[in-house]
């Protein structure tokens, strides 16, 4: 699921407005803005509203961030408060 040229899409699965879901959204926005600006677009999927969408990426724990490309697919589970861990996982198998 590549977004517009040069940017890659990250999909963040949340469950409504649970504290961890909100924290994950804020932390991801911060990481993308401050550390890798313009590199990713973020799609937030609320499984509270559409639980069936969990199936596509076989989501079990919420919040979970999915990086589809480059393969292999990477899943980062938790509220993304450890920004170093997030950046390392985003870059595994990537060109950076």
């Amino acid at each position: 699921m590549t977004a517009t040229s040069g940017t890659k899409k990250l999909v963040l699965y949340v469950a409504g407005e649970t504290p961890k879901s909100i924290a994950a959204i804020r932390n991801l926005e911060k990481i993308c803005t401050e550390s890798v600006p313009g590199k990713y677009t973020i799609e937030v999927i609320d499984l509270k509203k559409n639980p069936q969408l969990a199936r596509e990426h076989n989501i079990v724990a919420i919040p979970t961030l999915v990086r589809e490309l480059p393969t292999p697919i990477r899943k980062i589970i938790g509220d993304l408060s450890n920004s170093e861990k997030v950046l390392v996982n985003l870059q595994v198998g990537g060109e950076e």
């Binding site: 949340v14 469950a15 409504g16 407005e17 649970t18 504290p19 961890k20 879901s21 909100i22 924290a23 804020r26 932390n27 499984l47 509270k48 639980p51 069936q52 969990a54 199936r55 989501i59 079990v60 724990a61 919420i62 919040p63 979970t64 292999p72 899943k75 589970i77 938790g78 509220d79 408060s81």
Partner: protein
């Protein structure tokens, strides 16, 4: 093995295993707060949250009157209630998108951030400021730790204290204004737009001889404007100030006090805000002291005029009499200038003492100074001291000068080792106080055959009163002069020492 399921590659198996371990770790470490469970009955996914009461806490926050917000331990804004949105005039989405702290400036942001970071260790409270619309709001917030399900969180409550602080500041300003009013030494009166006195300090109450609050200004003080020939009354004066004009420094009489006072009246409009006149402020400065000082000055001018005339008359007399007794111009010059200097020496000492009185010892010392260098060795003054008024001091100065001149020319001060003593009699002799000038150790003395002006000065200068005068004795051992000073020209009892 289920034969219907496709075989998974080894890499895929490792990946799934790794993911399963990551999920277990995340659950164990409390990094997630919801799980997706596939219900076998309906073959559909369902989401179960582990937020352990977070929803009820949010409902609780919403029910609060004060602004409340929840943050996670990392400072992420989780919730903000409607009262907080209203306080900051922002929607929840606006607060969420600006990260809440973005509403505040750098300094105040840091204050809140620190409170959040330290909330797990201790509660705290602080004041922050924020611009809402165009108004600066002052908010007091409390920060405390909170557990939202598996999340360590921080609750912040905000109370708007702007009005309270403004009210306190207004009260403080009013207290200060009243304190200034009551501390002012001059009378200060404040009136409303109708000319009714609303405030008056102690000095004003004294001037009105009653508490003027509630009375018309004109009626309370009944000022009389001397220069206005009855055209201006107290209320007219106030009307000028109420119409926005300042009136300064008009002299008036305030007749209602215990003593009728001369006052200097000024009035100005009382402008509280945006040039709106809300009344008038009148100050009444007591001119009594100034009037007394002016009278004193007039008296002094007259006294000075009198003294100058007297002195000039004395100088003319000295000049004429010296000229009639001296044979040469040089003799005249020496005798005349010596006498003028003697007059000046007494004047100087009297001027230093503001023409009040002069100490006998000071007068004698000043007159002898030009004649004796080793004053302490050759001159003694004993039996205390007295204060002498100017009327006696000027002639006494001339007498001492004549005695000293004679002593230096012919008497004790003309010979090495000669001495002069001045003795003040301890008791009055009738209405006189006697001072004796006595010379010792000089050449043998004979009574002069010719009577000079100096002798006249000595014998006659104090004769303005029957109790004053001087008599000379020409003893062979030295001149002795008995000087009588009228007691009425001595101001104070003698001072020992």
């Amino acid at each position: 093995m289920n034969l219907n399921k496709p075989e998974l590659s080894k890499d895929e198996l490792y990946r799934r295993l790794e993911e399963a371990e990551e999920i277990i770790r995340a659950i164990r470490e409390g990094e997630i707060d919801a799980l997706v469970i596939r219900s076998s009955a309906v073959s559909a996914e369902e989401v179960f949250t582990l937020d352990g009461g977070a929803e009820s806490y949010r409902s609780f926050l919403e029910a609060m009157d004060v602004g409340a917000a929840a943050f996670d331990a990392g400072g992420n804004f989780l919730y903000g209630n409607a009262a907080l949105c209203s306080l900051l005039d922002k929607s929840f989405d606006q607060l969420a998108s600006r990260g809440f702290l973005g509403v505040f400036d750098k300094h105040n942001r840091e204050v809140i951030r620190t409170a959040i970071a330290e909330a797990q260790q201790h509660k705290s409270k602080a004041e922050v400021q924020v611009i809402v619309g165009s108004q600066l709001k002052r908010l007091m917030f409390h920060a405390d730790a909170l557990k939202l399900g598996v999340t360590d969180a921080v609750a912040l409550t905000f109370t708007d204290i702007t009005d309270r602080i403004l009210s306190e500041q207004r009260q403080e300003a009013e207290r200060t204004a009243l304190a200034i009013l009551s501390s002012a030494a001059e009378a200060v009166v404040v009136s409303d737009l109708d000319g009714i006195v609303t405030h008056a300090n102690t000095a004003a109450v004294t001037l009105a001889a009653c508490n003027p609050v509630g009375m018309r200004f004109g009626e309370a003080f009944a000022l009389e404007f001397k220069a206005a020939t009855g055209l201006m009354q107290g209320d007219d004066f106030l009307s000028l100030a109420l119409s926005g004009q300042s009136v300064q420094g008009v002299e008036a009489i305030a007749p209602k006090g215990r003593v009728t006072q001369d006052v200097l009246v000024s009035a100005a409009p009382l402008r509280v805000a945006e040039n709106q006149t809300q009344g008038a402020v009148v100050t009444l400065v007591d001119l009594s002291r100034r009037k007394i000082a002016e009278k004193q000055q007039l008296l002094l001018m007259r006294e000075l005029d009198h003294r100058v005339k007297n002195t000039l008359a004395l100088v003319v007399s000295i000049s004429n009499r010296t000229a009639s007794t001296e044979d040469t111009v040089d003799g005249f010059r020496q005798a005349f200038s010596g006498r003028i200097h003697a007059l000046a020496a007494t004047h100087n000492v009297l001027a230093e003492r503001a023409w009040s009185s002069i100490l006998l010892s000071e007068l004698v010392t000043a007159e002898l100074a030009p004649f004796i260098h080793d004053l302490h060795r050759r001159f003694t003054i004993s039996s205390g001291d007295i204060e002498i008024l100017p009327r006696a001091a000027v002639p006494l100065g001339l007498i001492v000068h004549e005695l000293a001149t004679n002593a230096a020319k012919y008497g004790a001060l003309s010979a090495e080792g000669g001495t002069v003593s001045v003795v003040l009699e301890p008791e009055n002799d009738g209405n006189s106080r006697v001072i004796t000038w006595e010379e010792h150790g000089g050449p043998a003395v004979k009574e002069p055959t010719k009577r000079g002006f100096g002798r006249t000065v000595i014998e006659k200068s104090l004769s303005y009163s029957p109790d004053g005068g001087a008599s000379l004795e020409f003893n062979e051992s030295g001149i002795r002069c008995r000087i009588r000073i009228p007691v009425e020209d001595i101001t104070s009892p003698e001072v020992d020492g």
